[in-house]
Symmetry: C2
Subunit: 257 residues, 2 copies
């Protein structure tokens, strides 16, 4: 099992606190030592940092943990390899461009028979089931109407494709096109929205706490999605099997079950 | 004018020495303060580090300068903005996937009328002439025969498209598909191949020298391409207008004039 983490916020927000917790699971409190990656959107711009080394002792991960990149949308992943070797090209998140937007994606789970999925528009570079599924999914999405009036209509059209991937095994997923954060649950995914009145949060995996009152303004809305709750003194929403949620600017705008 | 730098090598090689020289031009010895980026191939895997901040005082650039990422092929760019604002999405190098390979590209120069270039397959995310030209170029390349028997035949077919971009202004370019490094000259581009017997090199822009005898083995072949020679005690090859050169594993395999 890999671990996923995503963020959606209405103001550029750094993810240092949550990333600190996730990093510990990359080889220290968790078994996910086969690479890690994190993708940041800054406006339409996108950059990712990926490394096939365990993140708990990666120099690069250390920099990211302390380098407050302010972003509206973040997708992060730490890997426990099952399909595909420990190589850079097999390291999440994966990204491709569609409709002049960078799409970023990370997957947790394992899929059987993924080689049968036709990748017409996008071709995998590495050997993982995850990237193959992404190339298929994005090829399918490219056939949808980009100008769908409601994002929920779009999500409803996307869901059967996600359900199809879930039918091949375990498919927990985070994806973004820079504006929207899509989270799809197969077996395990939780999320929390933090907004005023802000309180204090304590990380589960490392002795670190933050008082969001000191870090935020009253109008901030920040949602964090993770495989397992990252804090132990807050109420996280546990997603159900086959559920798709869509966030924009930190707020839940659509839920398809 | 921006500055380009590329590397092709037959063994995974770090670019720290040359990058140190290039960095100085990013706001200290040169005027290129509008962002920087560097893309590394490790096998088929690709990762890039891009930043809209001046590289000479970028924390991230400092890390890369001292973090010996070993790579066969590298493309780097420091930017002096002319087309498109100083934003992440306008920061080189740009990348897209074609044929299951990550293609990476950086451009120096300015193009007129680039908006007329049809981007059928790839769509620009930012507003630069450079990314638009890349999307057009890669759309054109996608129509070529991927399995061309000789890489020189492929280069000959690519050249008229590069010439077309040069007809729109200044178009110095570096591009790679992970295996090959393509360098195309419009006004200014030089390269050097280092192999045994190795000697000493002195950077122009910073008081740094390296004795490659201590850094290499006898069989190493490393080519560096740059807008202007990075060292002052070595003989660089100056490219002519309209010249395309192709490197693989550090060696020149094709030259089309």
């Amino acid at each position: 099992m890999c671990e996923l983490m995503g963020m959606s916020a209405n103001v550029p927000t750094d993810i240092c606190f949550s990333f600190s917790g996730l990093l510990e699971r990359g080889g220290r409190t968790g078994p996910h030592k086969d690479g890690w990656g994190i993708g940041f959107y800054e406006g339409k711009g996108f950059r990712s940092f990926i490394d096939p080394l365990p993140c708990c002792n990666s120099e690069l991960a250390g920099l990211i943990k302390n380098y407050p990149i302010k972003s509206h949308t973040v997708i992060s992943h730490i890997r426990q390899a099952n399909s595909g070797g420990i190589k850079l090209e097999n390291t999440h998140p994966f990204s491709r461009e569609l409709w002049g937007q960078h799409w970023c994606y990370a997957h947790n789970g394992q899929l059987k028979g993924f080689e049968q999925l036709a990748c017409d528009v996008y071709t995998p570079v590495g050997e993982t089931d995850s990237e193959h599924a992404f190339c298929w999914l994005l090829s399918q999405i490219s056939l949808l109407d980009q100008e769908e009036t409601s994002k929920c209509d779009f999500a409803y059209k996307m869901k059967p494709k996600l359900d199809h991937l879930r039918s091949l095994g375990v498919f927990n997923m985070l994806m973004s096109d820079s504006t929207y954060l899509y989270a799809y649950c197969s077996t395990k995914l939780s999320w929390i929205t933090r907004k005023a009145p802000f309180g204090e949060a304590n990380l589960k995996d490392v002795d670190l706490q933050v008082n969001f009152v000191n870090e935020t303004t009253l109008s901030d809305v920040v949602t964090v999605v993770a495989t397992e709750p990252l804090t132990h003194n807050e109420e996280w929403n546990t997603m159900s099997e086959g559920e798709l949620v869509v966030f924009r600017n930190g707020s839940l705008i659509c839920r398809v079950t």
